[in-house]
Symmetry: C2
Subunit: 741 residues, 2 copies
């Protein structure tokens, strides 16, 4: 800490002090719970976490590798030794493992891409390569193609609009795209939709290389040989085993033929380093890219297509492998049919020190502490289930198969799902179902940042006040709770939240350490301990955060769900939808007018091929009233519940069940339009963003995709969902008031 903090003013009016009740607990229960938490904190040992991290990251341990099985067994042994009822739940899943990976520039010059990462003398782990999967994108289809190359920037929808203005059609071409701005799987998906026959994805040094900061081993960013691996399965359609959508991939499960699996890419795709991309990009001709498309290589970027011609070949061994999920259960002392599930995956693409082990060791420290409390007579009231998932990397497979396999039980018993994944240092990041907003904020109010004497919440608030966009800055001054972010996808909460409607959260530290090792050979113990979280001080704090999260859910007399925060966030999303439509309408109108009037044509450089945009269908006015009426009801009901809940400390199994199943009401069996696996109607990963969330996705994506006819039907659906939630909240108020229906 370089700066003395002289006078950090606590902002917001409702800071909870040590003496305030924990949400869902009365005064006595709060005191007892806080006493337990203090005892648990004392058990968290960064040195021990360090030992686990070092051991499990010694060799690459992707699903299907021996090391992955051994890590699973190690985790299971630990949990079992602490007293958990532990099993290893196995699923048989399809995993493509590379056989042939070739990218070759065949004209106008020749260059054969190495597709290999360098061993570094400074990091001995990088020499350990048994079972290392070479750089590849899992669930690329097999294929060999040769064609002219075309640069598509990040390969997201707006990039193709620009290419069209240049008169460039990618049909029959190989698209080369930068990593970033979307989840990687979107790039081949969209390139394929546009007619490309192959995709190359590379990390540009401006985004993740020397342009962003010092490269490994000097600094944390990608060196010239680093390649981001990663799945490109069509997760926005469904995650998990590609052959068993919607059902657990047990041994005898019914399976699709691989040829029929809709989530394998349409075209072959391979990732590469910027060292390999340089000769390819240098060989491109055509127009110079727009300013915003430039990267950090020491060349002038051109769009192509050609004269660069590329041949690429991707061939995979489509293996059936076993995913080993470690499932450890501690039966609740009072409400054993109410399950609090807490998970982190254990498989990595490689050594996986940051991703996922940094989060996993925090979960293990937490689990150990919870077990010790239990041994000392403080077994949680509800059942706690710790899960170390396998096969997250290729597509959330371990968690998805388990969740699908146990769907009925989970819908019945699961109170909530709490997730962690790779974590580093900086600010506590909290995402999740908004019914958990107050409860998570309260935890962040009660723990200090490990390097400064301010609470995690106030440090995050300070970050928002300094670095947030104008809207968030203004809000952060006065809004008592920090908004938790709505979740899209990218980790194991997805099957619980979006498929089963289980309230979920995702927790971790970040924002002050570069993520340059992500999915490369360089995600090693050495890298992690030098650059990400030296001494695991944030890791130890994460264990304390998540232990509170788990234990408060497990022990709360009344579950700490609340609805005012939920309603307030939904109100924000509804207003965003109206703004979105409004802005699209005025922009479309304005742009169309400029096109019609010839203004674009008049302003364009006659020596360039860049043309005017194509006119778009005008955006009609939509009837948002059903959604706003439902929202109004929800706001009212949530406010009433808040008042009632403040005064009435009553609870019951029925009330708790009404609370924790409320999230289920946000789902519909039919799922989202065109992707029925995703059943949640408030949170979904974007169909064209991947990890990036779309809130109220049915309505939002219909507007964004200019599917105007679908907007009002989707508004009706979203309104139904909110009305069901409002009904539930009203019912809860009645029950708390001792009324029966």
């Amino acid at each position: 800490m370089r700066f003395l903090i002289l006078a950090l003013v606590a902002l917001g009016s409702g800071i909870v002090h040590a003496g305030d009740n924990i949400v869902g607990f009365d005064a006595t229960a709060s005191a007892a719970q806080r006493e337990l938490e203090a005892q648990l904190d004392a058990t968290v040992d960064a040195g021990e976490m360090d030992g686990w991290l070092k051991l499990m990251s010694a060799t690459p341990h992707h699903v299907g590798s021996l090391a992955s099985k051994e890590n699973a067994e190690f985790i299971a042994e630990l949990l079992s030794s602490w007293g958990y009822d532990t099993e290893i739940a196995e699923y048989e899943i399809l995993l493509p493992v590379p056989k042939v990976r070739e990218v070759e520039l065949v004209a106008p010059t020749n260059y054969e891409a190495s597709l290999t990462e360098d061993t570094l003398a400074e990091d001995p782990s990088t020499a350990v390569r048994e079972t290392l999967l070479p750089p590849y994108n899992a669930f690329s289809r097999d294929g060999e193609v040769e064609a002219e190359l075309v640069f598509v920037n990040y390969g997201i929808p707006e990039d193709y609009e620009i290419l069209e203005r240049y008169g460039i059609d990618v049909t029959g071409k190989i698209a080369i795209a930068k990593y970033g701005r979307s989840w990687r799987g979107i790039k081949p998906k969209l390139a394929g939709e546009k007619g490309a026959i192959g995709t190359i994805i590379y990390s540009d040094p401006a985004d993740d290389g020397y342009g962003a900061g010092d490269v490994y081993p000097k600094g944390p960013f990608k060196n010239e040989s680093g390649v981001q691996r990663g799945s490109v399965m069509d997760m926005p359609t469904y995650p998990g085993d590609v052959l068993t959508p919607g059902r657990g991939a047990t041994k005898g499960a019914r399976r699709l033929d691989r040829e029929d699996a809709p989530t394998i890419t349409e075209i072959p795709v391979l990732p590469m380093s910027y060292r390999d991309a340089l000769p390819l990009l240098s060989a491109l001709g055509g127009e110079v890219v727009p300013n915003e498309w430039r990267g950090g290589l020491p060349i002038t970027y051109h769009l192509g297509p050609g004269p660069a011609r590329v041949r690429m070949k991707a061939e995979f061994d489509w293996k059936m492998v076993t995913a080993y999920n470690v499932i450890a259960r501690l039966e609740g002392s009072e409400f054993s049919q109410e399950w609090v599930i807490r998970g982190n995956h254990h498989d990595g693409w490689n050594h996986g020190a940051a991703d996922p082990l940094s989060g996993l060791v925090a979960m293990l420290a937490e689990a150990k502490g919870v077990a010790e409390l239990a041994k000392a007579g403080h077994r949680p009231l509800r059942t706690v289930i710790y899960a170390a998932w396998d096969a997250e990397e290729p597509g959330l497979i371990g968690s998805t198969e388990w969740a699908e396999h146990h769907a009925d039980d989970l819908r019945k018993h699961a109170v909530a799902y709490l997730n962690t994944d790779g974590s580093s240092r900086g600010f506590l990041s909290m995402g999740g179902s908004h019914v958990l907003e107050r409860y998570l904020n309260q935890i962040a109010e009660e723990l200090d940042d490990p390097l400064s004497d301010i609470t995690l919440k106030e440090r995050s608030r300070a970050n928002l006040l300094i670095n947030g966009d104008a809207k968030r800055q203004a809000e952060a001054k006065d809004r008592k709770d920090l908004r938790i972010y709505p979740m899209g996808s990218g980790s194991d909460y997805t099957p619980f939240l979006q498929h089963l409607g289980i309230a979920s959260a995702n927790l971790g530290f970040g924002g002050e350490a570069a993520d340059g090792s992500y999915h490369t050979l360089y995600d090693t113990y050495e890298h992690y301990m030098r650059f990400r979280d030296p001494g695991l001080v944030y890791g130890a704090t994460l264990a304390k955060v998540t232990a509170r999260a788990t234990l408060r859910l497990a022990n709360a007399p009344r579950l700490p769900f609340e609805f005012k925060g939920f309603a307030d966030n939904v109100a924000l999303y509804v207003s965003e939808l109206e703004e979105l439509a409004e802005n699209m309408r005025s922009t479309t109108e304005k742009t169309n007018q400029l096109i019609t009037d010839g203004i674009y044509a008049a302003a364009l450089d006659p020596n360039k091929t860049f043309g005017p945009p194509v006119a778009k269908q005008p955006v009609p006015h939509f009837n948002f009233a059903p959604l706003k009426n439902a929202l109004a009801r929800l706001v009212q009901a949530a406010s009433e519940f808040d008042t009632v809940a403040m005064s009435a400390s009553a609870s019951s199994e029925e009330i708790n069940k009404l609370l924790y199943t409320s999230e289920r009401l946000l789902t519909r069996d039919a799922g989202l339009d065109g992707r029925e696996w995703y059943k949640h109607h408030i949170y979904a990963p974007g169909f064209y963003t991947g990890y990036g969330v779309k809130t109220i996705p049915g309505v939002r994506e219909a507007i964004e995709q200019r599917d105007y006819d679908k907007v009002e039907p989707q508004i009706a659906i979203a309104a139904d969902v909110l009305n069901a939630m409002a009904d539930r909240v009203e019912l809860l108020s009645a029950r708390l008031n001792g009324e029966s229906t």
Copy 2:
């Protein structure tokens, strides 16, 4: 032209059609004038311009070189042969010519900068190097220094605020700055003020090199050896010969000792290419630069200071050389005591094809046409003076000395000064005194873009509508006239406008061709004809634009000055000043509060040296009323004049004198605070921006520099100036109504 323009809608309500009167002309006079202009257009011959351009750019021709003298003589001969009364006006000026230029990295490794530009087989001109001045910054002081290097981004005030937050003091260090974001002379000036002992300026490839586009000879941008030369004299204090501020540098003129010349830099400065900068920047340690500071070299940029240590030595031959201004006069047939002055410089830093010859050949074509009209019996009513200035490059010296030398006559007789300089292709750019806004707009309405069948004005408007910022976009839809830009400095209009108060304008084409050859060895005929204005089609159009500008001023029965546009622009500037103070006040208040509350400290990365900003003096409220009252009077007077001028076609020498001397009222003998040479109180180059304009500079700079005590006195001065203008406009209305005072 690639795109068919189907329906370009003429925007704005007041488009002048061929039949409308020219401002200052009645119907009969307008028709006659338009007939003359058509005759003149027919004389403009791009082939002939091409010949002149090729000839004059064959060798480097900076002031003091034989080629510069020969070009001056060639120009004089042409003008004389066309019938102008031509002289070459000589001034004896101080010019530093490099003797020693050395930059050497002495630690931690060694690298000696070449400071030399490559000869290119593709461009024979680059092999012609007799009299070529090597890359240097004119009016750097002599010096040899050795110190740690520190990276200061663009070396502008806000960059030093960031460095302070990193705890970096440049005292005793050598600063390396990127070209751009300010006029170059600001960089050593500010570095010196901050305590640095030397400055290196280089062109970063992200701004002007491969990052921006293809490099020469493949494309127009700077190749790795290209270096921007240029003056670093403190032009915002005064331009022109450093030894003779305020007076002509005639042979016997009183001169300062060189040691006392305040406009020579305090510290030595040398420019370099990005090839030379690379080893220096690579050797810097310390923190990684902020994101916005990154450049396009394939390295991680660090701030330093050190471990890179640099020795630099700059030694100059401080020569007295002769500047040759060509002055060609065509006596007016009726009002010979009213002078229309039209100028473009002829000296270049090198071959100078773009800068300045592209503008000069357009002026010559114009002058030839005007002479031919005169020979055919249509001599202009007023005296027209064509000037080809020498020594513009080292600091507007030729024009400034002539203007200072003839200050009394010019104040009396000069109607206006019309300037051109290097020009290329794209959109007509019009800057100048706002009393000329309507007159310039009318010209732009009457000529078509040479590559499309729309007027220059509508093409510029289209550009604003597509590429302007939101404010300009909105305005461009409805405002009849396009705003002409207020002028700072950077070309020869400065002594006329800002020292003498002569209404001035600056015209040229640009916006569609990169300026990468600027002040390098590569500003050649070959470069120009390939990338800037192939066929000189825009150059020929420029001759037609400026011929109209000259002839309408020379022939208008009543001079085409008007005041509504002036008042409207001043109103904009006054509103900007209020906004500036308001924004600074709220930002300062907010930032100070965040500092006091410890929010910055809480949000900062404890592992980095970047600290909170330092609190600033709160911004008081200022009394803008005097300025707004004066403005209100001016707006009223201008509107009245407009009405009167529309109906009364009366004119007289007195009225014209009242018109053209109105601009003088915007000056005060005392000049601006701290820089008395600059006498104009509406337009000035910024003291810390250089070329960049500051409108109502006394008030604006007092606010920006937080010199709060000076704001209200400056408001009073600006109000006086506007009141004097309002008086004049009222007087003019009275005279037009036939009243006498």
